[in-house]
């Protein structure tokens, strides 16, 4: 694409003006994109009196963070969210890599039926199955437990990630697997030792996305948990209704919830872009 440079971006401007304008436009876009997050961070650093009157002083404090961190329920919610996200990522990958591989490598009725099933369930709105899932998990005795939150989360990811995984495996030449099988590998050996390693960039991309989706998920956490397994998104939403106007505490919690996601995405973006490109 570097070749197409001659005529682009306001050719009537002199080069220097063009460059400045371009930089300004990019800077403005970046600012607009980052503004809500910047404002949130700023709010979390203001003392309670400063939060409501932006023009009153430039005092900053870490008190909101201290107060949030001393709240056991919020800390527990953080740990829970991290644990569930990590476990859900591991289990989702275990389940969807093999199912995507099957969709990509085999044709025939089983594969077609499975693909149709996945597509249909991808369309079903979450509310249509979490709503009764609330009663199902209660009657199975797993409501408000780790199992009762983890397994539905893995189930959410099955359709989308199997589909993505199929796409990734479609882009990988299967001849290596056949070669391995001729050399005496079993089918499982060819899958685990040849196909999975060559799909590793895609699998890393999927892991990043999966972790972020679970960490950010709200509806499942809202409906499937009570008090024993608090999730951070639910705790934050409760802030809005229960704690009234304590915006600095809410902002501090939100900022802390952003940090792990930010780190994962920052280190993962390379994998995501590379993985999605296959």
């Amino acid at each position: 694409m570097a070749m197409v440079r001659r005529s682009e971006f306001l050719p009537w401007l002199p080069p220097i003006g063009r460059k400045t304008l371009f930089a300004l436009v990019v800077a403005f876009i970046c600012f607009a994109f980052a503004f809500p997050v910047l404002w949130l961070i700023l709010t979390s650093l203001r003392p309670e009196s400063g939060v409501y009157y932006v023009h009153r002083g430039t005092e900053f404090t870490l008190l909101s963070f201290a107060e949030v961190l001393s709240d056991e329920r919020i800390v527990a919610a953080f740990l829970n969210s991290a644990l569930i996200s990590t476990l859900a990522t591991v289990f989702s990958l275990l389940v969807t890599v093999s199912s995507g591989y099957m969709l990509s490598r085999f044709t025939g009725p089983a594969s077609r039926i499975w693909f149709g099933t996945i597509y249909v369930f991808r369309c079903v709105p979450y509310i249509s199955w979490v709503l009764p899932l609330y009663f199902v998990t209660q009657s199975w005795g797993i409501y408000d437990t780790y199992t009762g939150l983890l397994l539905p989360h893995v189930a959410v990811h099955i359709c989308f990630f199997s589909w993505l995984m199929k796409g990734f495996f479609d882009g990988i030449d299967p001849s290596m697997e056949y070669a391995a099988m001729i050399d005496g590998c079993t089918r499982w050996g060819a899958f685990i030792r040849v196909a999975v390693p060559s799909a590793l960039p895609a699998i890393s991309a999927l892991a990043v996305l999966c972790w972020l989706f679970t960490w950010n998920e709200f509806l499942f956490a809202l409906i499937l948990t009570g008090n024993r397994v608090p999730m951070i998104t639910v705790v934050m939403a409760q802030f809005v209704t229960e704690m009234g106007l304590r915006w600095n505490l809410m902002a501090a919690t939100a900022v802390m919830a952003l940090v792990p996601a930010f780190l994962i995405a920052l280190f993962g973006q390379k994998y995501v872009i590379r993985g999605l490109r296959i």
């Binding site: 570097a2 197409v4 440079r5 876009i29 389940v95 249509s128 950010n216 709200f218």
Partner: protein, 297 residues
């Protein structure tokens, strides 16, 4: 690759079934079973305070379909939201992907900043936006008043609240489009673009006649996936307005949730969820046909 794929033989059957067995089992337990139970519930008078679960046939469906709130507020809101959210995020995402696809100084930094919303949980986004548009202390009104304009009660008027929900959603999902479209752009062959550059074709014509047609499969897949997701949006609306003012920004997921968990009428909520599920299923199948045709063309 499809030529080297083999049809399924008898000896392979076990391998194939084992590959999908865990996924299929989870799907069965946590989606199929609940949906069947939900379908059963939708035909019964099943409320938390009334555990008799008498069979009442299609009464709940009739009640949902003839509910003016559902017909004239919830459905139009949901479709309007779906169309505008997808269109907005697609246009913004495409523009940003094109921007990031050309090298310039600081490109890595810009790319990282533009991906920020991807990491923000919808609930957090909703909280931030709610705070920014707060009618007393929000920065938007403070700035407006500082430059002599009148602050607005943004979230308690129907269309401004709807607009803000939409804006939040577009902000949240634009990076997702950017990411997929950027990946698509970077995998395009270089030669046509070099040829166009030698011919001195304008940027707009390159975009219109080269980039856009070649990106079409990626665009269509993005649109289908996002449209289906937009239909079931819950978290940002729930946190931003709770469906208010009144019920004027209620979307379909909220309608089902409110009936089941706030009005404690599980039968009615299930019926609403199934009506919505059927609608989106039809849309999904139609869209899938479209993708298939475009991918083959």
């Amino acid at each position: 690759m499809s030529a080297s794929r083999r049809p399924m033989f008898g000896e392979q059957q076990r391998f194939v079934l084992l590959l999908i067995a865990p996924a299929a089992l989870l799907l069965l337990l946590f989606q199929v079973v609940p949906i069947v139970i939900g379908a059963n519930a939708s035909f019964r008078d099943w409320a938390l305070y009334n555990p008799k679960k008498t069979w009442i046939g299609f009464d709940h469906y009739v009640a949902v379909i003839t509910d003016p709130a559902f017909l004239y507020v919830v459905l139009p809101n949901t479709f309007l939201f779906m169309v505008l959210s997808v269109a907005g995020a697609l246009v913004a995402g495409l523009m940003l992907a094109l921007l990031l696809n050309r090298p310039f100084r600081g490109q890595k930094l810009v790319q990282t900043i533009l991906l920020v919303p991807l990491m923000v949980a919808p609930v957090i986004a909703a909280i931030m936006i709610r705070w920014i548009f707060n009618d007393q202390f929000g920065i938007v009104n403070v700035v407006l008043e500082a430059i002599g304009l009148e602050g607005q009660p943004w979230l308690v008027q129907r269309w401004s609240a709807f607009g803000i929900i939409l804006l939040t959603d577009i902000w949240l999902w634009t990076p997702w489009f950017t990411l997929l479209l950027l990946a698509g752009l970077q995998s395009l062959p270089k030669e046509p673009f070099e040829a166009a550059a030698i011919d001195g074709t304008t940027t707009w014509r390159v975009f219109r006649f080269l980039t856009l047609p070649m990106l079409r499969p990626v665009i269509v897949v993005c649109v289908v996936i996002r449209a289906i997701d937009a239909f079931r949006t819950f978290d940002i609306v729930w946190t931003l307005t709770g469906g208010g003012p009144g019920r004027s920004t209620e979307l379909f997921s909220l309608y089902a949730y409110v009936h089941a968990f706030l009005n404690l009428d599980l039968g009615r909520g299930s019926a609403a969820a199934i009506v919505g599920g059927l609608i989106i299923l039809v849309i999904g199948v139609v869209l899938y046909r479209l993708v298939d045709r475009i991918a083959k063309a």
